[in-house]
């Protein structure tokens, strides 16, 4: 399979791999971002205004 990577298209699988990879990243990061405590969010968001 490895050598055939150069010569074949694999259209049916690589679109899915790209979709699953991107979706898992978005979901993970969104989960983390949504769980940020409000105090931390407010503190960070106001940093530019506190100098």
């Amino acid at each position: 399979m490895f050598r055939r990577l150069l010569l074949e298209h694999w259209m049916s699988i690589f679109t899915l791999i790209a979709f699953i990879t991107a979706l898992s990243i978005y979901c993970t990061i969104s989960f983390r971002a949504l769980r940020m405590p409000k105090s931390q969010r407010d503190h960070l968001a106001n940093l530019p205004l506190n100098d």
């Binding site: 050598r3 690589f14 979709f19 990243i25 990061i29």
Partner: protein, 774 residues
């Protein structure tokens, strides 16, 4: 707990230096842009001078705008905002000065060498190897100064702008080093270690992500600092900014192959490039909306405040450009838009609208603060905004129209798709000439606006006393209760999220690339990793959250994870291609290596920047095949260091131009293109007819090519000279035939370039049986 108050004096001198350099180099870069746009309309503006031709000045324009204009702007913005966000003076005044003067020296070196024809022949990576080393060195100085400052910070948490700066510093270093790996043949020349499709893939991994991590992420960091400052309200959603950052860092890096759609690039890479580009819509627009919505409640200020005007328009252009990019990455759309002015319009909506307007807004905001004097003329700044906006819209609309027109004409067929509707390339070029003229007008308007800014800067700064900002911070020596402690490197490496991610990726690679038994093992391992990771997360949810919280206040582990996030996409795309794209694996067709004279001609082709107007890649599209011949195979450029597939067709494709025309045709065409192709906008190349071919380093060049894997036999200087003379004599004799009567010395550069052009498209057949051995 002990506490004390500390007064911090910021190093704003370095900010002022970079800001002024940005204004000056911005004007130079844009001026060259207007000049080369004019050359496309009026070929005489090339002045028959080698150092003023389009092919040599276009790299100067792109490098000046990217590295000199946006680079200096970025450094000014990063240094100003970082000091204030982390509440610490820059770590080293000395390193700051080394950074500034080193960067200016690099720009001057580029401004001298590029017009002289010293080029690596790869877009945005043309600078020769000694300058490459200088760039890498100065970038390291920048990185040390930045991370050292973070280490001395008085603000524990890292604001999202700092994340974007970290992503920029480490990713640009990785991209720049890999794409510039070369073996020198002399002080001013080298060959890249990659060839053909490998070189194309690495080049656009770099080229695309130069846009992502040099022109986008640092400017997003600047947006997340300066837009709240100018609007006097916090960013609309900090959560959204977190999603914006990680999504861009993870996803952007995969999108490079969309620059090579419908080419000989392996299909799976094209598919990945296209799909990930479409995925980029979400984070890009999330970021754009976050920037625009930060102006909530401040929209009324846009009527009078030029800073907010520039920022609002810049963020809007960011949204436009990041909508258009994924659109152009769809293969069928790309078949129309690629190689045309549509791409040029897309790039300039980003460069002029996003980068240029962010720069202008930042400069107008900083001027009064850095020189403690009100802006000389707010109305002039507002005029700049409107003149610049009209300029961009004129430019971009003209390029859209031009690109779509030429794309449609080049792809149009008749007789049921068997004949080209516009077989003469020049006809398509002359149709878009009015649009190319509008581009000059649009560009000139934008440049006029920039001169207004320069005048405003001059009048504001004149007679003003520079002032450095200060602040007082309350420093607690102990950790406040409830705050996360920083995390060490080992703790990062052995933390559950990292371990599960690494193991999962490893098993997934074994699943994808292993043999039959290994594939099963990989599949099983991947599924197991996912299940175990979920079970661990479910049972130790608090630990995972705590680990993430500690990561956000730990700059070094955070940087390493950012590096891994950015590197993984490139590794998965590049490593397999580098490993298997070898001559012995090629099927169907394999390139025949160049003779010494042809190689010398190729170096001239690179020196003159012919790739700026001519591609060498016939796509797997019917109109391309009808116009230029059989589509290009993977193996037909396997010995090309550097690859010359190109990205724009101002002239026709040359992949199969060999033997298409007689030698005399090429001679006359180089001497005066219009004597062969009426209406051509190609410059004359009279110096090729008079300049002597330099073969003093040719043996060394062949030796380096042999080291890189091109199957040359060892040759001495004398053998090389003999081979060159023999081939040159046949071309000279052919040119002197009755009917053409061209008398030319065999040691002229024109002979070498004719030899090279006549070689293009030559290949040997490769039997599938021979190639199929494991």
């Amino acid at each position: 707990m002990s506490a004390r108050t500390v007064t911090i004096a910021y190093n704003d001198k370095i900010v002022r230096q970079f800001l002024l350099a940005c204004v000056i180099w911005g004007a130079v870069g844009m001026l060259v842009g207007v000049l080369i746009a004019t050359q496309l309309n009026y070929w005489r503006v090339n002045f028959n001078l080698p150092w003023l031709t389009f092919g040599r000045l276009r790299p100067l324009h792109t490098n000046a705008v990217i590295f000199a204009f946006v680079g200096n702007m970025m450094f000014a913005g990063v240094y100003y905002s970082t000091q204030r966000l982390v509440k610490a003076r820059l770590a080293s005044d000395f390193l700051s000065q080394v950074h500034f003067w080193g960067w200016q020296l690099i720009i001057v070196a580029a401004a001298i060498t590029l017009p002289l024809g010293f080029s690596r022949g790869k877009e945005y990576a043309e600078l020769i190897w000694p300058i490459n080393i200088g760039v890498a060195g100065i970038w390291v100085v920048f990185g040390i100064n930045f991370f050292w400052t973070l280490a001395r910070r008085h603000e524990r948490t890292l604001y999202v702008a700092i994340w974007f700066y970290i992503g920029t510093i480490i990713t640009v270093a990785m991209l720049y080093i890999v794409n510039h790996l070369s073996i020198p043949t002399s002080l001013t020349h080298s060959y890249p270690i990659f060839a053909g499709v490998q070189d194309g893939l690495v080049q656009w991994w770099y080229g695309h992500n130069a846009v992502a991590f040099f022109l986008t992420t640092p400017i997003l960091g600047i947006m997340y600092y300066f837009v709240p400052k100018a609007a006097e309200r916090p960013v609309y959603s900090y959560r959204l900014s977190v999603i914006h950052f990680w999504s861009l860092v993870f996803v952007y890096i995969w999108a490079g192959p969309h620059h090579l759609l419908n080419t000989a690039l392996p299909g799976w890479l094209q598919t990945l490039g296209m799909t990930f580009s479409l995925m980029l819509w979400a984070p890009s627009w999330g970021g754009m909306l976050n920037g625009l919505l930060t102006l909530r409640g401040a929209w009324h200020k846009l009527r009078t405040d030029p800073v907010l005007k520039f920022f609002a328009a810049a963020v809007t252009f960011y949204g436009m450009a990041t909508f258009e990019g994924p659109l152009l990455s769809i293969k069928s759309v790309n078949a129309l838009g690629h190689y045309t002015d549509w791409i040029i319009g897309h790039v300039h909506s980003g460069a002029l609208g996003w980068n240029g307007f962010m720069a202008a807004g930042m400069i107008y905001w900083l001027l009064p603060r850095l020189w403690n004097k009100p802006l000389h003329s707010v109305s002039l700044a507002n005029t700049h905004f409107w003149v610049g906006t009209v300029g961009i819209l004129l430019y971009v609309a003209a390029m859209w129209t031009s690109g779509i027109t030429q794309g449609l004409m080049l792809n149009a067929t008749t007789e049921g798709g068997t004949l080209l509707a516009y077989p003469n390339f020049i006809e398509t070029l002359n149709t878009i000439r009015p649009m190319m003229l509008f581009r000059v007008v649009g560009g000139a308007l934008y440049l006029t606006g920039w001169f207004m800014l320069a005048y405003n800067v001059y009048r504001t700064v004149t007679g003003a006393a520079p002032v450095d900002g200060t602040t007082q911070v309350f420093v607690e020596d102990d950790l406040p209760p409830g705050e996360s402690a920083r995390i060490g490197l080992l703790a990062v490496a052995f933390s559950p999220p990292v371990m599960f991610s690494v193991l999962g990726t490893l098993f997934a690679c074994i699943w994808m690339f292993g043999g039959e038994i290994l594939q099963m093992l990989g599949l099983f391992g991947t599924i197991l990793c996912v299940i175990l990771a979920w079970m661990h997360f479910d049972s130790k949810r608090r630990n995972w959250g705590d680990w993430y919280g500690r990561l956000l206040v730990s700059a070094l582990p955070f940087s390493i994870l950012t590096f891994l996030a950015a590197a993984v996409g490139g590794m998965i795309q590049i490593i397999p291609t580098v490993l298997i794209n070898r001559a012995e694996n090629v099927e169907d067709r394999r390139q025949i290596p160049y003779t010494p004279l042809e190689l010398a001609g190729r170096d001239i082709y690179v020196r003159e920047g012919c790739y700026n107007c001519h591609s060498q890649m016939i796509r797997t599209l019917v109109p391309d095949v009808l116009r230029y011949g059989d589509y290009s195979r993977l193996g037909e450029s396997i010995y090309d260091h550097p690859y010359q597939w190109g990205s724009r067709r101002i002239g026709p494709d040359l992949a199969r131009v060999g033997n298409k025309y007689p030698n005399s045709w090429h001679y006359r065409h180089m001497e005066d293109p219009r004597s062969i192709s009426a209406g051509s906008n190609m410059p004359n190349y009279p110096w090729l007819l008079s300049d002597t071919l330099d073969i003093s380093t040719l043996a060394k060049k062949l030796s380096v090519q042999r080291t890189l894997g091109v199957p040359y036999a060892p040759m001495s200087d004398a053998e090389v000279a003999a081979a060159v003379s023999a081939q040159a004599a046949t071309i000279v004799a052919d040119l002197a035939q009755p009917g053409t009567d061209i008398k030319v010395q065999p040691d002229r550069e024109i002979i070498a370039i004719i030899a090279y052009l006549q070689k293009l498209g030559k290949y040997e057949r490769v039997l599938r049986v021979a190639a199929a051995k494991p």
